[in-house]
Amino acid sequence: MARGVVVSATNGKRRELWREIVRRRWAYVFISPFYILFLGFGFLPVIFSVYLSFHKWKGLGPMEFVGLKNFTYLFGIGGKAFWQSIQNGIILFFMYVPIMTFLALVLAVILNSKLVRFFQGYRTMIFAPYVTSMIAAGFTFGLMLQQKGGLFNTFLNMLGLPGVPWLEDIWWARVSLCLLVTWGWLGYNMVIMLAGLQTIPRELTEAALIDGASPVQAFFYITIPLLRPVILFSVILSTMGSFGLFNEVQALTGGGPMRATLTTMVHIYNVAFGNFRFGRASAQGYVYFALIFVFTLLQLRYFGREE
């Protein structure tokens, strides 16, 4: 008897649900383009990529099933370039993210204070690089960093210092890439910090200063903690950025010298469209995805757990 009641109640609920869906059909129509496109250009590629990663294929002709070979390849000598690119991503991350984030924060603080005039002007100038094509910027930096005759070295020479092998040395090339990336992204990060700063109520810092804290202390113990979400956002974006650098690398260094500035995105592109190993590229894409995911989770954990 009870069962019958439950069944009819469930049926009743289902009918309710269906009526609701029909009533709200327009909403589904409106949101459908995303899901349709995602199906074709998001979901399908993701699944196909899994399939491909177990095959060897050069884009033309038959696909050859190779099982886990593409993955074990990464753990042998063949994976050298891939792991180098991951290592580069990490190195680059630590080379520019802390400095850039801190600098963005400091600049935002300075601009936010009413201490300095020309707020608009400075903000515009610092933000402008963000809208620039990194290909154009990369080329320009390449010219300026040229060892013989480039602007930077000529300037150093004028100061009596020797020129720097900006693009010929492993570490200097990384520095050059970081310079380019910082140039392009500092303004963006500064602007979001500025917005974040504006959400911090004055009274908090006022109270701290009245209590005898120095400005620097207030900065470190109040401002930064309150800005944590924004800082975290900035850092996470920069993480994905440092592994995914493509335009910048192609325009400035091509990945060299000796693979010092090879990022994972460039490497996977090379494997796919340079060596025509589509299966291998798919497998590497997934390993890369997994690593990024973990790295990001770690950051969320680390930043999320502070005082």
Partner: protein
């Protein structure tokens, strides 16, 4: 004999004669032609008249339609077009329209393979360097030209067909070769107390050991660099030339085995390393401004020698170092060891026809016209120094002329001589890009002192072997 009989006989003879003339021998062969040829010497364009014997016209019905040609400006615009070949082509094939799209070599190597694998977007004729040819032949998607090539095969220098062959079929029509010689500065040699006459230079610097000694002399006596060999951005070109002359390479052409870390390959790299160790070579990277400056210089620092292919001379004459006319000479490159080959290859290019072409007849007509006829290849050679692969063309007067840029030396004959002696080697091949990539990194690591030659090459070899699976 009756009149009828004689008439009958004469008619028969006339008919037979006509048949004989039209069927046997080349159809419509004109006598040797005199063509006007322009060349660039020391930045100036001079016009000459050269006698050229053309090859016969094909007999099939003439194709029509439009074809798209991809290639780089130095070869297409500044050579084919500048020599008037397109006009000549259209004179013979008025209904074929040739549309040209310029791409630099590296861009051809991005776009062509993508188009081949996608099955669409490829041109009808594409210019490809020998280094990348084998890769595309093995990738698939190129038109099999074996049948059309039959009449030409005997006339083509052997080593050019090696990279375009697969399973007994041919997929390209060769254009120019890359016979490697040693360019040297007579003025620097004189100042260093070395001979300046090409024959003497070739005799004095007969092996790489001799070369090392000569380089030390040049450094001591004049303070100039012997040649340019960059460390950090080295892309293995010189190394490949030295491997090639020994018949070595990245792989064994017979067995397919990777030989990147063979004892001979390691020894070759170490031999080149000596020049770095003794600081005898400039660190300028080829094809960059500092390199051009050192080649064109009249006072230190000058690069005294350059081991490079014959196509280099037109670049030097026209825009790299036009002001150094009369100061250069051409000698044979040193042999690796006593008695070894003094010939190697660097570069060279071919035309390929992608299978997806909608107009294979017109495409082949173009390829055949431009590269299958002495007249065309010689005119292009005169302008750009792209040495033809057609052996019959070497009979031409161009190969007897002296060149004032080289103080009157007959350099073309040296090129032709070297071209015929290039050994078989496993440098290019279906996986050249990957092999060159790994080995370049190895050389860079060795040159900058990060690893020993053996370790660097072993790692590169392991990487390559893994990558080939």
């Amino acid at each position: 004999m009756s009149h009828k009989h004689i008439l009958y006989k004469m008619t028969t003879m006339i008919i037979l004669g006509v048949i004989a003339i039209t069927a046997c021998g080349p159809a419509a062969t004109p006598a040797a032609e005199v063509v006007e040829v322009t060349r660039i010497v020391e930045g100036e364009t001079i016009t000459e008249y050269v006698e050229v014997t053309p090859t016969p016209l094909p007999e099939a019905e003439k194709p029509t339609g439009k074809i798209v040609l991809w290639g780089w400006t130095a070869a297409i615009r500044d050579t084919i077009e500048a020599a008037g070949i397109i006009e000549d082509f259209n004179a013979e094939y008025p209904d074929i329209e040739v549309e040209i799209q310029y791409y630099g070599p590296s861009d051809v190597y991005i776009n062509l393979p993508l188009a081949l694998t996608a099955g669409e977007g490829a041109p009808d004729v594409c210019l490809v360097e020998n280094s990348h040819l084998s890769e595309y032949v093995h990738l698939g998607g190129l038109l099999d030209l074996t049948d059309m090539l039959q009449p030409y095969l005997d006339n083509i220098v052997e080593y050019k067909m090696f990279d375009c062959e697969k399973d007994g079929k041919y997929y390209c029509m060769p254009w120019d070769g890359g016979p490697v010689v040693m360019y040297y500065r007579r003025d620097v040699f004189e100042a260093a107390g070395l001979p300046t006459d090409p024959a003497e230079v070739s005799a004095t610097i007969a092996t790489w050991d001799d070369y090392l000694a000569a380089c030390r002399t040049i450094k001591e006596e004049t303070g100039n660099y012997c040649f340019a060999h960059n460390k950090a951005n080295n892309y293995a070109r010189l190394y490949e030339m030295v491997l090639w002359q020994q018949g070595l390479g990245y792989y064994d052409p017979d067995t397919g085995e990777v030989t990147v870390d063979s004892p001979e390959n390691i020894a070759t790299l170490e031999m080149l390393g000596q020049f770095w160790e003794e600081d005898l070579v400039s660190d300028s990277l080829e094809w960059t401004d500092p390199w051009y400056a050192e080649l064109a210089a009249m006072e230190s620092p000058i690069i005294a020698t350059l081991i490079e292919a014959s196509w280099m001379d037109i670049f030097m004459k026209s825009w790299i170092a036009p002001g150094t006319g009369g100061k250069w000479g051409v000698a044979h490159m040193p042999a690796y060891e006593e008695g070894g080959a003094r010939a190697s290859n660097d570069g060279g290019s071919v035309f390929v026809i992608p299978e997806q072409t909608k107009n294979p007849d017109a495409a082949w007509a173009f390829v055949e016209f431009v590269l299958g006829r002495d007249r065309s290849v010689l005119r292009m050679f005169a302008i750009s120094g792209f040495i033809p692969s057609l052996k019959s063309s070497y009979d031409d007067a161009l190969f007897l002329a002296g060149d004032s840029f080289f103080a009157g030396q007959n350099v073309n004959s040296v090129y032709a001589d070297v071209n015929a002696k290039i050994p078989r080697a496993g440098v290019y091949g279906p996986n050249y890009a990957m092999m060159n990539g790994s080995v370049s990194v190895a050389i860079q690591l060795y040159a900058t002192g990060e690893m020993t030659a053996e370790d660097a090459l072993r790692e590169a070899a392991a990487e390559i072997r893994a990558g080939l699976e």
